[in-house]
């Protein structure tokens, strides 16, 4: 299951992919995933995927398990918590991007998810 605020991920990934699209901020995606991890979902991709810094791109997609295991996974919780701490330390910048640049960010984020899916579809 992919938690994303990237409209391109919503529009371009295969139909069978379970996608939870939220119109929200980068940080909101991290918080949503953190809450899912607390509820027993497993983190499947790294929450800080990509070298584009959290204060540059507004888009984030993170893959978690389709269902809760019923038990909180410590490693998943630690990774997502560290990601939130990392997000917090970057200087906050005002939105500076025109539409075409936002699309570039979406394309890069989509590529990261597509490559993660390739790792599963063996």
């Amino acid at each position: 299951m992919i938690i994303t605020n990237n409209p391109l991920v919503k529009a371009n990934l295969p139909e069978e992919t379970k996608i939870v699209y939220m119109k929200c901020s980068y940080k909101d995606i991290l918080i949503k995933v953190r809450d899912l991890c607390y509820a027993g979902f497993l983190l499947k991709t790294h929450p800080l995927s990509g070298s584009v810094k959290p204060n540059e791109t507004p888009y984030k997609s993170i893959m978690v398990s389709d269902a809760s295991t019923g038990k909180t996974d410590f490693d998943s919780c630690e990774l997502i918590s560290n990601a939130i701490s990392t997000y917090e330390k970057f200087a906050k910048l005002p939105d500076k991007w025109p539409k075409e640049v936002l699309l570039d960010f979406q394309v890069v984020d989509l590529s990261l998810m597509q490559n993660a899916l390739k790792s599963i579809d063996l």
Partner: protein
């Protein structure tokens, strides 16, 4: 009769690379491409024809940037040192430009003191700059080189993937074209790099610690990729290289998102960890090999790759490992996974990384940590703020500056100066330690 012991000793020395340096003191445009008395003359029409063979590139402009000039190059995609294979198997950039063959032995020439720099606006948010003088020049090793810059414009409507591919290949093809000009010259200096086979290595230096270099390669997706013999590093499992293989261009950068968190191709060709380990080989340590691994986004890939890396360290009976990462955030987790698992095999690990410790340097430096990661060399804090003066000339696009990683909408001031974090500078905090920046 077939004597196994003799046979094993006979084949024990595997690779020997003689790296000849052709010193390039200056670059000039001319009617004929040649290298004469240390000056590289470039016929741009010939080079243009070569670059425009790629139908995705509409036009290409060439420029020269020399050390000490008031010149800024931006946005920089890759930096490549031209090389040519004189003898031995394969050719430079094997599996990409050269044929598919194993490289790392024989004789290779390198054009020392210069580089091919590719620039182009692949996406709207951009990576680094190189200042050839001023305070910014001190932060990038590439300001000390004579740079031939290619600014590539794509055809209309091109996709980001295609443009990235076209610019990457333009740089490599130009580097091969220039490297060929050195084929019949005499090297100004030659260094010999020799690596032992397993048998000889074990017996030749019995008192020295067996050390390998574990190099993590960026491998996440578009503009976050590395190629090994032409193979996308996402698709490899950790493997062993003779360290001389990267000197022939076996590892190539396709990583062009942010300027600090990456190893340009020039850094792979001239990897300073490899150079330093060779310098100590047989003296204070036994440099066994280079192990390469990846940094995929999918967590199961990370577990598999770090398991295999630790397994290889154990199989090679290592005492120590130098471990370098490439990238920000996601690779920090691979770094710590590798460190923990290699240490668990009884092998000591020293990590090399850069830091994102906030502009005041007080924040946690990495996105992951562990108690066993107790030996780390830092290549500097990428969030450190710097003011760069206005340059007389810009090669590329100065309007891109507010869009470079580490900058904001106020970075480009009305007077032409730039206030930004040093991550804006190509190569400022390289995670293999290429350069001089560090911290205590």
């Amino acid at each position: 009769m077939y004597n196994i012991a003799e046979r094993q000793m006979e084949r024990s020395v595997i690779l020997k690379l003689e790296l000849g340096y052709i010193d390039i003191k200056d670059i000039k445009f001319a009617d004929k491409s040649e290298i004469k008395d240390g000056i590289l003359y470039v016929n741009t029409e010939e080079l243009k024809k070569l670059v425009l063979e790629d139908e995705d590139i509409k036009s290409v402009a060439f420029d020269i940037a020399k050390p000490g000039e008031s010149v800024r190059i931006t946005p920089v995609k890759d930096v490549i040192e031209p090389r040519v294979k004189i003898s031995g198997r394969g050719g430079v950039f094997p599996g990409v430009i050269g044929p598919v063959d194993t490289v790392g032995d024989g004789v290779t020439y390198a054009l020392r003191g210069m580089a091919v720099v590719t620039a182009g606006k692949i996406v709207g948010f951009q990576e680094g700059l190189i200042d050839m003088s001023g305070p910014g020049a001190a932060y990038t090793p590439f300001s000390k080189l004579n740079n031939l810059v290619l600014v590539c414009d794509p055809i209309d409507g091109i996709k980001q993937h295609e443009y990235e591919h076209a610019v990457r290949f333009a740089g490599l093809k130009a580097a091969v074209y220039l490297g060929e000009l050195a084929r019949n010259l005499k090297a100004d200096e030659t260094k010999v790099f020799e690596t032992c086979g397993i048998v000889e290595g074990l017996t030749k230096y019995p008192g020295l610690p067996r050390v390998a270099y574990v190099q993590m390669l960026q491998s996440q997706g578009l503009m976050h990729d590395t190629y090994v013999y032409g193979v996308d590093a996402k698709k490899i499992v950790p493997t062993i290289l003779h360290p001389t293989e990267s000197m022939d261009g076996a590892i190539l950068s396709g990583n062009c998102v942010s300027a600090c968190d990456k190893n340009p191709t020039y850094v792979h060709e001239n990897n300073s960890v490899v150079a330093d380990l060779f310098a100590e080989h047989g003296k204070t340590l036994n440099f066994v090999c280079q192990i390469i691994t990846n940094e995929n986004v999918y967590l199961a890939d990370k577990r598999r790759s770090s398991d295999w890396t630790a397994k290889l360290c154990k199989m090679l009976n290592l005492d120590g490992v130098i471990l370098s990462q490439e990238g920000f955030g996601n690779p920090d987790t691979d770094l710590i996974m590798n460190c923990k698992k290699i240490e668990a095999e009884g092998v000591k690990v020293v990590m090399i990384t850069d830091e994102y410790a906030g502009q005041d340097g007080k924040s946690q430096s990495l996105a992951d940590a562990d108690a066993v990661a107790d030996a780390c060399v830092t290549a500097g804090n990428a969030n450190q703020v710097i003011v760069l003066p206005k340059m007389d000339k810009v090669i590329g696009v100065v309007e891109q500056v507010p869009k470079l990683a580490g900058s904001n909408e106020h970075s480009l001031r009305p007077d032409g100066t730039i206030e930004a974090e040093i991550q804006i500078i190509t190569g400022a905090t390289n995670e293999t330690g290429f350069g001089t920046l560090s911290a205590r």
